[in-house]
Subunit: 194 residues, 2 copies
Amino acid sequence: MARPKEFDVEEALDRAMELFRRQGFEGTSMNELQEAMGIGRQSLYDTFGDKKQLFLRSLDRYTARGRETMAAPLFAPDASLPELRRYFEEIVEFLTPRDGNGGCLLAGAIVELGADHPEVASCCRTNQRSLREAIRKALKRAQVDGMIRKEIDCESISLVLMGKLYGMTLLARNGASRAQLRKSVKQLLDMFTS
Amino acid sequence: MARPKEFDVEEALDRAMELFRRQGFEGTSMNELQEAMGIGRQSLYDTFGDKKQLFLRSLDRYTARGRETMAAPLFAPDASLPELRRYFEEIVEFLTPRDGNGGCLLAGAIVELGADHPEVASCCRTNQRSLREAIRKALKRAQVDGMIRKEIDCESISLVLMGKLYGMTLLARNGASRAQLRKSVKQLLDMFTS
DNA sequence: GGAGTTATGGACCGATCGGTCAAGTTAGGA
DNA sequence: TCCTAACTTGACCGATCGGTCCATAACTCC
């Protein structure tokens, strides 16, 4: 081994992730990334490969981060309806920040690259699958405990809720307020709770 | 007046719209547009202005087209629950074409340009407002006729349904099948019908 | 204290970007 | 008929794109 890196790889990746989240893939240039990450051109390419690889790593980090923070309680083995409600509440808050720079890297990735970048598409689908599964389990658990009506099909409702999450990212980007989103979440969730 | 155009403006716009829908704003170059539209460079700029103006006109056309075709029955003065169901069914079909080139120009516009292009954002919001209003009226009418439970708040459910539409564009882009989307629509709509 | 390895900074690459210029062509109106 | 306004064509513009090369610096190991 020789000369150590002068920058923090994880931190640089966070900066890239944030820029991609706000501006999208095509909308962000390597020059902007380099500047935002605070590293030199060559260090960028040596460490992260080309732009697509950097985006993919940012996306991976983004989804992992989401699972570890906001979604963590939902992924807990005993997660139920309260955890689900709390998760949706956190998503609403995340999508409507004070500075107005809402926007979801995952949604951007699906729209912008989902059709022609297999690895990105794969990452997005994997994330959707695991999240949906966590939602389904939480719903089922809540149903067993009598918090959700018996006739509800948790499997298909989990897809409805995934769509709800995606839908909110666009509603938020299109001007919906935190209060509006919060209310729409409550309306939907109350609909199948008993 | 002098020499007439050799190409059909509306048709050229359709081509541009289709390309933007599939590839997004940043993902589509003027060279590609020129080729797809089948016109010369200068004709393009003379007729449509710069890229942003061309995109805006494409977006306008896209939303207008949607209102005139799929959404037309929903906008009818006597639209009710059947029209609403039918509209969602048509959207599902639109989002899951045989060739796999699903994708919604409106969703792309919101994600890619909603944050930093006021005119595009304005167009997206106007479209959302009018569509949501049509949904709300149809819901209300269905409620008066006893097809929807009395305790339902049509105003806020209309936002839930707008979110559902947006959500489906991402679900479709992320691999959801026509059958899955259809089922999720049924699940949601059945939830507040009596 | 070399020797070998990795990181850094900046110049540089061809390609492509959105957009324009100018010369030539085709029509309508006087 | 001929003038002129509008359309077409293709070369061309500077800027920026993603990506690479190379000389130099900084570190570890022998």
